[in-house]
């Protein structure tokens, strides 16, 4: 099948997101892979919300520019999205809510369902029109109604049996209405198929799950889009998984709390967006200087200052690579989908303790808040590695003892050892010392960690598509999704995806880039930050860039057009 995109739009506060997620889960339970993507403004009521789910029988990782089924809960949805409908697509709407469909292109099927009327007839409020629309959509797409009923029961598990019953009635009403009135429009898009089950998760949930799997014990998170959902995910799980999750007074407190908890021996993390990270920058260097393990999840969004709070971008790469005065070792990792987010977040907690330094997981709104099918989330197996952690009392313990690989023995408070962690430049024992010789030794010791990390942990970049292709796309982080989805339409193109940005895999990358006749750098930022980094670290200057910085993610169609133009 070719990927099919369902889109539902309406006013903020009308349950668009949860309706979209129910559709995604329904498609996943029917045996398909899904990707969904929501667009919403930074307000709670009255703005325009839209969520789209793309369904396919193989991996799908990005939103499409065109829509196959548009469910419009208000006139604005039609006004904003009618141009995405191509001949053969369907507009499902309620004549009470959408009075003008004159702009809809010829060849688009118009399906009118009295959503509000059926919702009220089911004994509910007009808000249940979403459920009616889902029932009608399931019928239209040849899906299984019982899967929808299961999802309704799960969603309203905590509510009264009456509410569950009303929603089931509403779903059935929509389902029956569609089958009775539009039998010829039914296509078997969601016909149940046998497929290995996979999870439907967002990048935020993947980061939270990865942290839990890694034994995370302390999280300090000040709310900020797009990572607030990590806080919402973790907060209720504290008693069940025995960890502490704090919402402090500001991001400065957040990072210092996490550093304190980590110093005391807890696996600690913070999560924020670029603006919150701006406040954390002094703590970033504090963790580096005091050699305190710390995992930092940074969800990028576009714009300096407040910017576009609920939109997406990839413009904080250089910021994370260089933030804070002077130099200290920081590991910067950028997963491309929830599966990689889960894996790299887990690994980040080990890396933070092994290298005793901050490790950044760089996400963005697109990855944080979109749902993906994730095939492989190992629930149990994870080897916790704590590096040079000392549990017994040593004679003449020195926290910052010089070592060939740059890593000193780390004891914890309460162990009987005298530990002095110091934000001042310090000697091996931790005492403040400003001699030139000591400064040089401690500086070299800290920076040596990056070399050790590159030798012991840095993987080669992964290449997707035919190795011998004449054209290569290179990118990092979440642009992986639309690029992977474009590749099947680009036979002579492969794709190098970078998830490790510091240390940077320059040695492995150089021959990969040189073997290609044409290399195109794709990034969700204005200046081509990766392209600059590649030039700096490999000496290879890339001439072609596809850059986008309008707050929206790439569509695979744009990438195909750029490469085939």
């Amino acid at each position: 099948m070719s990927p099919f995109t369902f889109k539902i739009g309406g006013a903020a506060g009308f349950g668009i997101m949860s309706t979209g997620l129910t559709f995604s889960k329904l498609a996943a339970r029917s045996g398909y892979q899904v990707f969904d993507y929501a667009e919403y403004p930074s307000l709670i009521r009255g703005g325009h919300n839209v969520m789209q789910t793309t369904v396919a029988d193989k991996s799908v990782n990005s939103p499409r520019r065109s829509t196959n089924l548009l469910v419009a809960l208000n006139q604005e949805t039609v006004a904003r999205h009618y141009h995405e409908l191509t001949p053969g697509a369907t507009l499902l709407y309620d004549k009470e809510l959408v009075t003008n469909v004159a702009d809809v292109p010829n060849g688009v099927h118009l399906i009118a369902v009295p959503l509000q009327h059926l919702a009220k007839a089911a004994g509910g409020t007009i808000l249940m029109r979403n459920t009616v629309a889902l029932g009608a959509s399931v019928a239209l797409l040849g899906g299984k109604l019982t899967l929808l009923v299961d999802l309704i029961n799960e969603e309203f598990a905590a509510k009264s049996p009456e509410i569950k019953q009303k929603n089931q009635t509403a779903a059935l009403a929509g389902y029956d209405y569609l089958r009775a009135n539009y039998p010829n429009n039914i296509t078997p898009i969601l016909a149940p198929r046998r497929a290995p089950r996979s999870w439907v998760i967002t990048g935020n949930e993947a980061a939270g799950l990865g942290a839990l799997s890694a034994g995370m014990q302390f999280a300090a998170i000040y709310p900020m889009t797009p990572t607030s959902n990590i806080l919402h995910f973790l907060a209720p799980l504290q008693p069940e998984f025995n960890f502490i999750c704090q919402q402090p007074e500001d991001e400065i407190a957040a990072i210092n709390l996490a550093i304190g908890a980590s110093f005391a021996g807890a696996r600690a993390m913070v999560a924020t967006a670029g603006g919150g990270f701006s406040l954390m920058v002094e703590g970033y260097g504090l963790a580096g200087m005091t050699e305190t393990p710390l995992v930092i999840i940074e969800g990028m969004r576009p714009g300096p200052a407040t910017g576009l709070p609920t939109w997406t971008g990839q413009a904080d790469l250089r910021f994370l690579l260089h933030a804070h005065q002077d130099e200290f070792p920081r590991l910067v990792l950028a997963p491309g989908d929830p599966q990689e987010t889960f894996n790299l977040t887990r690994q980040a907690f080990n890396l933070a303790e092994i290298y005793q330094t901050p490790v950044v997981i760089l996400l963005d709104k697109y990855l944080c808040e979109s749902h993906w099918s994730a095939p492989d989330l190992p629930a149990e197996k994870f080897k916790i590695e704590r590096g040079k952690l000392i549990t017994r009392q040593l004679k003449n313990y020195r926290r910052y003892a010089l070592s060939a690989e740059g890593i000193s023995p780390r004891a914890l408070p309460g162990s009987g050892n005298h530990i002095l962690a110091n934000s001042d430049e310090h000697n091996e024992a931790g005492y403040s010392e400003e001699s030139a010789e000591n400064r040089q030794q401690q500086m070299e010791k800290r920076m040596k960690k990056l070399v050790t990390c590159a030798n012991n942990h840095l993987p080669s970049p992964r290449r997707y598509g035919p190795p011998e292709a004449s054209t290569t796309i290179i990118s990092w982080g979440s642009t992986k999704g639309p690029i992977l989805d474009a590749l099947p339409s680009l036979p002579d193109v492969n794709f190098i995806h970078l998830t490790w940005l510091n240390p940077f895999p320059a040695a492995a990358l150089r021959p990969m880039l040189k073997s290609s006749q044409r290399v195109i750098n794709i990034e969700n930022n204005y200046s081509g930050q990766l392209q600059g980094l590649i030039a700096e670290t490999t000496g290879i200057s890339l001439k072609e860039n596809l850059l986008k910085y309008d707050g929206r993610p790439f569509y695979p169609e744009e990438i195909i057009e750029f490469l085939t133009a």
């Binding site: 400065i252 908890a261 934000s423 001042d424």
Partner: protein, 279 residues
């Protein structure tokens, strides 16, 4: 072990002769010796300022953080391991200027910490600028015409924010300060000792002589658990009327009490039941 030689380090002391920090240093060491605080049960956290140098002269486990940020670091330590005695050493610029927000919110949450506020009413390590504690009219490098603002009073601020144990001491009265440090540590909540600490180099208003002349000890008849009376007592400041001693004490659960107790090692978790929600 006596308190003079306890926790000795090889580092030469860098405070000016006559600095109030000597009194705080000695009183803390005396309290530590008496109470058995050591590297198995105690952590000190300091900010940046002359006070922070104390960590170099005292061989107890410590974290010297950033200017203004010792309180959140200490709160993180205490939450992660509530068995530790956690002391915050902070200055008036550190605690009330750069770190004011943390001071307010830590008091509100009633973290089980002891905050020793080295109050010399001047920025000393940066060679003498005005501080949030400098009196109106105070002449300094940054206020050559005199400080145009009134000082902030940390104890009423902490009281309003929800702190549960507030005391004031003079750095020159070692026995009283020692006793207060011990009591503050025993209090299960956010305890603040404002230590009036002469800066002999940069503050020629708040001298040893000034404090000796203008402070008095609240007597045994004073009841620090009377919150309304304490509120009035906490406002007192000025010639001949700066009260010293335990000024306010209240009972409230410490922030750490209901928190999960963390295991020594990161737990191996089975996520199977949790993952079912994401099907």
């Amino acid at each position: 072990m006596d308190s003079l030689t306890a926790f000795a380090t090889d580092n030469p002391c860098t405070w000016c002769p006559g600095c109030g920090n000597f009194g705080i240093w000695l009183a803390f060491k005396e309290a530590a010796v008496r109470q058995g605080w050591n590297n198995f049960n105690t952590v000190m956290v300091a900010g940046i300022g002359c006070h922070g140098h104390l960590l170099n002269f005292l061989g107890l486990t410590a974290f010297e953080g950033l200017h203004g940020r010792p309180i959140p670091v200490a709160a993180g330590i205490k939450m992660a391991n509530p068995k530790l005695n956690v002391f915050v050493f902070t200055g008036d610029g550190d605690c009330l200027g750069e770190g004011g927000n943390h001071f307010i919110h830590a008091a509100r949450r009633n973290h089980n910490l002891t905050v020793i506020l080295h109050d010399n009413a001047v920025y000393a390590l940066t060679t003498g600028q005005t501080s949030p504690r400098s009196p109106r009219g105070f002449k300094s490098k940054s206020t050559p015409e005199g400080n145009p603002a009134d000082p902030l009073h940390p104890l009423p601020l902490a009281w309003a924010a929800g702190a549960t144990w507030l005391a004031r001491a003079y750095a020159g009265d070692l026995p009283a300060l020692t006793e207060l440090i011990i009591q503050a540590n025993q209090h299960p909540g956010f305890a603040v000792i404002q230590v009036l600490q002469p800066c002999v180099a940069f503050n020629h208003v708040y001298t040893h002589e000034f404090f000796q002349k203008n402070t008095y000890l609240v007597g045994p008849n004073y009841d620090p658990t009377d919150a309304a009376a304490a509120w009035h007592k906490l406002q007192e400041w000025g010639e001949q009327k700066i009260p010293l001693g335990l000024l306010f004490a209240a009972k409230k659960p410490a922030y750490e009490d209901p928190l999960p107790r963390l295991t020594k090692n990161p737990p191996h978790r089975n996520l199977t039941p949790l993952l079912r929600r994401y099907r």
